[in-house]
């Protein structure tokens, strides 16, 4: 809990530095292991991240380590993240791993794969209440991805190749 608070301060500090007018995210907890910090949000807590309006394009990918097609497409999201400047495109990997597997599965996975994109955990078990708020057509299967910039928003309940992902990103950029 203390870690979570610290993380909030950091977010406020950094966003303050960049001069963005963004609401700070309020996480409910955070995991820490192996030098990695994974903030945990419920849906209300993560909502501001899905609706920022600062001129930056955000790619929000819902995934989990137990989801094979999700893991298969992660390198493409990493590549987009590394190829586009941070002030233009931000990739956020929203993990739906179960909380008791974060330390045993998620953190070791991120370490091993050297994942550079921002990773957060969405821990909100009442999925029926929040899935339609992400997108009305989402059945709840993952991978699922939002690409948005301000009011322009696209939603995909599918896997991507690199070319497909970049093509869709360019529609929003």
């Amino acid at each position: 809990m203390y870690k979570c608070f610290l993380y909030m301060i950091l977010i406020i500090f950094f966003t303050g530095c960049k001069g963005e007018k963004t609401a700070a995210l309020t996480c409910t907890d955070s995991f820490n292991g192996d030098g990695l910090e994974i903030p945990v949000y419920d849906f209300e807590g993560i909502t501001p991240l899905l609706h920022r309006n600062d001129g930056k394009t955000r790619i929000i990918n819902f995934w989990a380590t137990w989801c094979k097609p999700c893991v298969a497409e992660l390198p493409y999201f990493e590549l987009v993240n590394s190829r586009y400047p941070d002030d233009k495109v931000e990739v956020i990997l929203v993990s739906l791993d179960v909380p008791n597997q974060v330390e045993s599965k998620l953190i070791p996975f991120l370490k091993k794969q050297k994942i550079q994109s921002k990773v957060v955990l969405l821990d909100d078990p009442d999925a029926n209440s929040w899935i339609p708020k992400v997108n009305l057509n989402w059945t709840g299967s993952i991978p699922a991805t939002i690409i948005y910039k301000g009011g322009v928003r696209r939603f995909y309940e599918q896997s991507f190749t690199y070319n497909e992902l970049e093509k869709e990103l360019k529609k929003v950029l």
Binding site: W66, C67, K68, P69, P75, Y76, L79, S82, L96, D97, V98, P99, Q101, P125, D126, A127, N128, S129, I131, P132, W138, T139, G140, S141, I142, P143, Q158, T161, Y162, N163, E164
Partner: protein
């Protein structure tokens, strides 16, 4: 060194995606059933090596059909609740029928042998069927595990009355405030309309 690594990755991705260009980017899945549709019967192999069809259950008032599997943490989290559903409703005419829709080539943990093992370990009181060839789940439109279809046995056939999650808290049964499947079956047993007919849940994508 790092540049070289990135270069190698980029080259690889370009090479791979060149081959993938012809791939249809958004394959059209059959949409599956809606509430009120008549669901298909099937004849699938059970973990006891017998074959099970809905038609075998002449006395059944309906079914709690659950697409589930071994490897998925969400399915595992619900196993005890699936057993409890069977215990509560089998005697009342709504037995649980579980179907593993996954291709074991994609998930070796979901092979028929591993289904037998899991069924034994957990003491499943219901049939746990293997969708050999992954032919049945697309007809229902199941996209993930666990994915429940409550069917009512009528003169026209097995009519879909509820589609979705078991309850509204996969992590903790005691914290679940809405028990969708129980509420649906209880309503049907009382001859009432199912209160919530469709719900959504996070689950493991079915891999054919």
């Amino acid at each position: 060194m790092k540049t070289l690594k990135i270069l190698v990755i980029v080259t690889f991705v370009i090479a791979v995606s060149a081959f993938a260009l012809d791939k249809v980017s958004n394959p059209k899945m059959s949409k599956g059933y809606s509430i009120g549709d008549v669901a298909t019967d099937f004849n699938l192999k059970n973990v006891d090596d017998s074959f099970v069809s809905l038609a075998n259950y002449e006395e059944a008032k309906g079914f709690i059909l659950i697409f589930t599997c071994n490897h998925c943490p969400y399915s595992v989290a619900y196993e005890d609740r699936i057993i409890a559903l069977d215990k509560e409703f089998k005697a009342k005419g709504y037995p649980v029928i579980a179907i593993n829709p996954n291709n074991p080539k994609a998930y070796p943990g979901d092979s028929f042998d591993n289904m037998k093992k899991r069924s034994k370990e957990k003491g499943f009181t219901f049939p746990y069927l293997f969708d050999d060839g992954q032919k049945i789940y697309p007809l229902y439109g199941a996209t993930k595990t666990p994915h429940v279809y409550v069917l009512e046995n009528t003169a026209e056939g097995n009519v879909v009355r509820y589609i979705g999650a078991i309850d509204n808290n996969y992590k903790d049964p005691d914290a679940a405030t809405a028990k969708y499947v129980q509420d649906a079956v209880n309503a049907l047993l009382e001859g009432k309309k199912v209160p919530i007919e469709v719900t959504k849940a996070i689950g493991c994508s079915i891999k054919a």
